[in-house]
């Protein structure tokens, strides 16, 4: 169990100070696949480097299994990293790379050899054990880097965008394999990515970061269905935002009649309402929905579904997704005005940041 307690990191000082991490608080559970997700520059790598010990925090604590690890240098932290560039030692063979961490620790040669064999089999690189690591393909290097980091049995494995250098097909394969390895070994993974699909499919929990802060930590499902704020809602999946007001348990979307909504009880005042494109019902009126209509601006075919870009009577634009099932209505045409239904239980009220600012 890794407890990250109000951890902060500031680079530089005075006017040049840059706050890469601002009081990050989170606990990563034993055996968890924990993902850090966020745009470039939000501090993901910085957080990993602090956990690995390559950087010292400027504030807060890192507690691993009840022990504060701040003073432990990287070479003694029971944490290993899979680097984005793999960082394999080019002058060593595959097997020598995998053996490195064990040898540096002074493991007995017989045990090293056994563990190296085991690891190479695990990542299916046994047949290339004597190949120089510089002569491997990207996917193979990835496997070796993984085996090398796993060999010394770390308590936590840190992975910094390990798949971003691979092409799409290989990436999908490695995603599945990483997930399988992690589940079988029951090891804690802290995984960095800025690919939301990767995060959603692989993780037990995801921490969405922005500007050095954790915006929300939740399971993929919760993150998608109940984003904590507009940033998270916009970053994970596609979303429509509609302005509205909430008062006394009633939500009034601008231009519509008020509806009673349990969620609206907690808020008062201006709000942003979110609805996912796939929840909007296009072409018919349905019960328990906000009813409206929209003019179709554009249809974009995506194979499994079609994105329908619409303009509402009030001028707001909206994107809906219609499933392309075998008998689906293919009679949507640009320019046409169609009925739209927004199910009450698909509406999510987000605190309105603009309103907060006032």
């Amino acid at each position: 169990m890794l407890e990250i307690k109000s951890l902060s990191k500031t680079f530089g000082a005075g006017v040049a100070a840059y706050h890469a991490l601002r009081s990050v608080d989170v606990t990563v559970a034993e055996g968890e696949f924990f993902t850090l997700l966020g745009p470039s520059g939000c501090g993901k790598t910085t957080l990993l480097r602090l956990i690995a010990g390559f950087e010292q925090p400027t504030g807060g604590q890192l507690v691993l299994d009840g022990q504060d690890i701040a003073a432990i240098p990287p070479s003694r932290r029971p944490v290993n990293t899979v680097f984005q560039s793999y960082a394999l030692f080019p002058h060593m063979t595959v097997a020598q790379n995998v053996a490195f961490g064990l040898e540096a620790r002074g493991t007995a040669p017989g045990d090293v050899a056994r563990r190296v064999d085991e690891m190479l089999q695990l990542v299916q690189m046994d047949h290339l054990r004597d190949r120089k690591s510089a002569a491997l393909s990207g996917g193979q290097q990835q496997r070796v880097a993984l085996a090398r980091a796993l060999a010394p049995r770390p308590r936590i494995l840190l992975l910094d965008e390990p798949l971003s250098a691979l092409d799409l097909k290989l990436r999908k394969e490695m995603q599945a394999e990483l997930k399988r390895l992690q589940r079988e070994m029951g090891l804690t993974f802290i995984f960095v990515t800025h690919d939301q699909d990767e995060a959603l499919t692989m993780s037990d929990r995801i921490a969405v970061m922005e500007g050095g802060r954790l915006q929300q930590v939740a399971t993929p499902r919760d993150l998608y269905d109940h984003p904590a704020n507009r940033f998270v809602a916009g970053f994970i999946g596609e979303t429509n935002f509609l302005p509205g007001r909430a008062a006394e348990g009633q939500l009034r979307l601008d231009g519509f009649a008020p509806v009673a909504l349990a969620e609206a009880k907690a808020v008062n005042g201006a709000v942003t309402v979110m609805i996912r494109p796939e929840h909007i019902i296009v072409g018919r009126e349905a019960p328990d929905c906000v009813q409206t209509s929209g003019q179709i601006d554009e249809l974009v075919f995506f194979g499994t579904d079609t994105h329908v870009k619409l303009t509402l009577p009030g001028g707001a634009s909206l994107t809906a997704r219609a499933q392309n099932s075998l008998h689906s209505a293919t009679d949507l045409n640009p320019g046409q005005t169609v009925p739209l239904s927004l199910p009450y239980d698909a509406l999510r009220i987000l605190p309105d940041e603009a309103a907060h600012a006032v």
Partner: protein, 267 residues
């Protein structure tokens, strides 16, 4: 036509200029080598092909002595300057940023900035006093003197190699439980080795070819190969001198070519 990238090769007259330059650079050297194989003793009169001047040179004690001195000085000066250059390069490209890095650079490149004759005179004055004080007249002075001006030559390939090295490799080693020294021995040094070897070889040739500093610093009666050649030239211009020059040339070219081959290899 206009899409073609600009290339010097397409400038009119470039080819003839290149050829003339090439000839001017190498023709004298080729003539020298040819003369070394002349059977006759007189320069400019060809009396047939023979290796007798090489045999004569190798049989010549004074030559052998000078050659041995040159090799000892070159080897030790290269060793010393390469060690210092390696440490300097590591200090500059590794660890936290040093204060006064520009200053270090100036110090390292002093031999390239200061005219060689000035350096030679300066070394002569200082070393002469030490000679007088200690009474030691051995090769040590030449080794020390050569070590100084060899440093920048040893430094260049090492630094180039270090700068091309991926720093995350060292981070990765530390992440894998390697301490500082273990990281240096298992990762940094092996990756740096070709640069160090190339630096050593460059320093070796620079020392081997040096005339000016050697002539000022050497003790009376002491000769290196180039100073021996200079002395012999003043007395008589024989085909043997050509043979010795050819040998020196061969040694130089071999070492430079080897160092070029080593540095060309990718890290």
């Amino acid at each position: 036509m206009s899409k073609r990238k600009f290339s010097v090769r397409h400038v009119p007259g470039a080819a003839p200029i290149a050829i003339v330059t090439f000839v001017a650079l190498y023709a004298p050297v080729l003539i020298l080598i040819a003369n070394a194989f002349n059977a006759g003793p007189v320069i400019g009169r060809w009396e047939g092909f023979s290796g007798r001047w090489f045999v004569a040179a190798i049989g010549n004690d004074a030559f052998r002595n000078a050659a041995l001195n040159s090799l000892i000085v070159a080897a030790l000066a290269a060793l010393i300057s390469t060690s210092l250059a390696t440490m300097a390069a590591l200090a500059i490209t590794r660890g936290r940023r040093l204060r006064g890095e520009g200053g270090i650079f100036v110090v390292l490149n002093q031999p390239l900035l200061v005219p060689e004759i000035v350096l030679a005179i300066a070394l002569m004055i200082v070393l002469a006093q030490i000679k007088q004080a200690t009474g030691y007249h051995g090769l040590g002075y030449l080794i020390v003197a050569h070590s100084t001006f060899c440093i920048p030559f040893a430094f260049m390939p090492i630094r180039a190699r270090l700068e091309g090295m991926d720093l995350t490799l060292e981070t990765a080693a530390m992440d894998l439980y390697a301490g500082r020294f273990y990281t240096f021995r298992r990762v940094t040094l092996p990756l740096l080795a070709p640069g160090i070897l190339a630096g050593f070889m460059l320093a070796f040739v620079v020392s081997l070819d040096n005339v000016v500093v050697s002539s000022f610093v050497k003790s009376p009666g002491q000769e290196t190969l180039p100073t021996y050649l200079m002395g012999e030239l003043r007395r008589n211009l024989s085909s043997e001198i050509y043979a010795i020059s050819a040998l020196l040339l061969f040694a130089s070219v071999t070492v430079v070519a080897a160092s070029w081959l080593i540095t060309r290899r990718k890290p």
